[in-house]
């Protein structure tokens, strides 16, 4: 009789330890998966719903609040509209090297490829020159046709040439900027390019290069004071 009972007792004594073991496993699981359990608990909580703080108010009060809210929204929206450009503007996407020319209402007139800054750091002795297109909102300050480019020092450093004097004729370049240029401040421009095959790629020293036809349209659409959004 005792021989038959032994395995049964052994199983029973082991089985009893399953209870604390389950507690231990669940405790560990709880720590590892707390967000999941919380999420489930929220689902359960959600079934019972929540009451609104407006529920105790009279219909008259609700109507008043609604009226006030409508007025406020209309006022706020009109103030947002006042911040928007009043003239046609251009949006430049530096991540994809694309532009979108839009009218004053914000509707797209033309989209296309452009080239923006190559994100390069040119090191020359102690000098560090960054070639990057700035992001933000800019204003067209000046528009020019067949504008010559007055080469800055970095253009010579990059070509391994000696830097000429500030007024040297070597600095004047009639071809690089193309037919039109729109200045947006700090030496940055929207202009044409000799390297049309690179449109869509980040290759510039910070300016925005455009294809000939797109540049002509942009030049004719935007005026002094037009906004340039670069992101």
């Amino acid at each position: 009789m005792e021989i038959e009972e032994k395995p049964y007792r052994l199983v029973l004594s082991i089985a009893k330890w399953i209870i604390p073991l389950v507690f231990l496993i669940f405790s560990i699981l709880m720590i590892l998966n707390t967000p999941d359990y919380q999420e489930t608990a929220y689902q359960v909580k959600g079934w019972f719903g929540d009451s609104s703080s407006y529920e105790g108010k009279s219909q008259k009060n609700i109507d008043k609040l609604a009226q006030k809210s409508r007025r406020n929204t209309a006022s706020l929206e009109s103030r947002i509209d006042k911040l928007k450009p009043v003239k046609p503007f251009i949006v430049v996407n530096t991540a994809e090297n694309r532009f979108s020319l839009r009218n004053a209402a914000g509707d797209t007139i033309k989209t296309g490829m452009c080239s923006t800054g190559k994100n390069e750091l040119l090191i020359s002795g102690t000098k560090r020159i960054v070639f990057k297109t700035p992001k933000g909102i800019f204003t067209v300050r000046n528009k020019q046709q067949s504008r010559p480019w007055i080469k800055p020092d970095w253009a010579f450093i990059e070509d391994g040439l000696p830097i000429p004097s500030a007024r040297s004729s070597e600095r004047i370049d009639y071809a690089t900027l193309g037919d039109y240029a729109l200045e947006i401040g700090n030496g940055y421009m929207l202009h044409g390019t000799l390297y049309q095959r690179f449109l869509g790629l980040p290759v510039t020293h910070g300016c925005v290069r455009l294809g000939d036809k797109d540049l002509e349209l942009i030049y004719n659409t935007l005026s002094k004071g037009s906004k340039v959004f670069i992101y």
């Binding site: 004594s13 009893k16 330890w17 209870i19 604390p20 507690f23 405790s27 709880m30 720590i31 590892l32 707390t34 967000p35 919380q38 608990a41 929220y42 689902q43 909580k45 959600g46 719903g49 929540d50 609104s52 703080s53 407006y54 108010k57 009279s58 219909q59 609700i62 109507d63 609604a66 009226q67 809210s69 007025r71 406020n72 929204t73 209309a74 006022s75 706020l76 929206e77 103030r79 509209d81 911040l83 928007k84 450009p85 949006v91 996407n93 994100n119 390069e120 750091l121 090191i123 960054v130 990057k132 992001k135 933000g136 909102i137 990059e158 070509d159 391994g160 040439l161 959004f229 992101y231």
Partner: protein
């Protein structure tokens, strides 16, 4: 079982049982049932924010006639109006600044980058996952929670914000000609962005395209690091009962190019408006 064994069994069971109940209470029951998961914001009305603001004359003033009883429909309508008002308030607050910001439109499934109220980029959300803590709150609580722009507290991504190439200036034209080359085409890395905002909100932006092995490794590493943080927060919740361990989470899946643009074009400490 001997008496000694029985005693050990009951002590161990009791200790583990109490521990389990304590962990359950501190990590799930207390945070969910006694605290608001959506931290309350002090909702400033338009008048409080800008006392000089003149109400628009053309505003739609047509309120429904009062019938003396407060119907659920009119309360729902009021909450909808409040939602619009808070949204306009947030947009105005951010549009007056010079940085771009993110508008997450959950109803239209769009992630929008705006600057001065102008839409610069629209990314279509392919898949949207909201945590239960957001889904199961009533509209009024959600409206109040999202009434002001969210500000990023921490942001991590599998891709760099900006990649700079260093180039040593050539000594002469010969060296310059040798260096002159076709433009470098940068391989766009696979994207996972985790943004932790104030008011406990976490936004995860991931790409719809399958990542390559290198990208998958980076994505897995980032996800694992956040899982470890969750465990550590759970442990914190166990030791400090007053902690708020829940993070309402929004996960959006967009195309790889949109995910890259969203991350790269936003400023270092982006702000976000939630529209739902």
């Amino acid at each position: 079982m001997t008496m000694k064994n029985k005693l050990v069994f009951w002590i161990v069971t009791a200790v583990l049982g109490v521990s389990f109940m304590y962990i359950l209470t501190s990590t799930v029951v207390l945070p969910v049932f006694t605290k608001s998961v959506l931290p309350k914001v002090v909702v400033h009305t338009t008048e409080e924010k800008d006392k000089n603001a003149k109400p628009a004359k053309n505003a739609d003033d047509s309120a429904e006639p009062s019938n003396g009883t407060n119907s659920k429909e009119s309360v729902d309508k009021l909450i909808e109006l409040k939602k619009k008002e808070f949204l306009a308030q947030s947009r105005l607050a951010l549009a007056t600044e010079d940085s771009n910001y993110l508008v997450l439109d959950l109803s239209s499934k769009l992630a929008i980058i705006e600057l001065k109220g102008v839409v610069l980029h629209e990314a279509k959300i392919i898949q949207l996952t909201l945590s239960n803590s957001i889904k199961h709150h009533n509209s009024e609580v959600l409206t109040n929670w999202a009434s002001e722009p969210f500000v990023v507290k921490n942001i991590e991504a599998t891709i760099p914000k900006i990649v700079f190439f260093e180039k040593i200036a050539p000594k002469d034209t010969l060296e310059a000609n040798k260096m002159a080359q076709e433009p470098k085409i940068i391989r766009q890395g696979d994207v996972l962005v985790v943004m932790d905002f104030n008011r406990n909100l976490r936004l995860i932006v991931s790409q719809s395209e399958l990542p390559d092995p290198e990208g998958l490794k980076a994505i897995t590493e980032l996800r694992e690091s956040y899982s470890k943080q969750e465990v550590s927060r759970s442990l914190d919740a166990i030791t400090h009962l007053n902690r708020e361990p829940i993070k309402p989470q929004i996960e959006i899946v967009v195309s790889k190019s949109d995910a890259t643009i969203l991350y790269k074009s936003l400023p270092l400490n982006p702000r976000m408006i939630l529209k739902f």
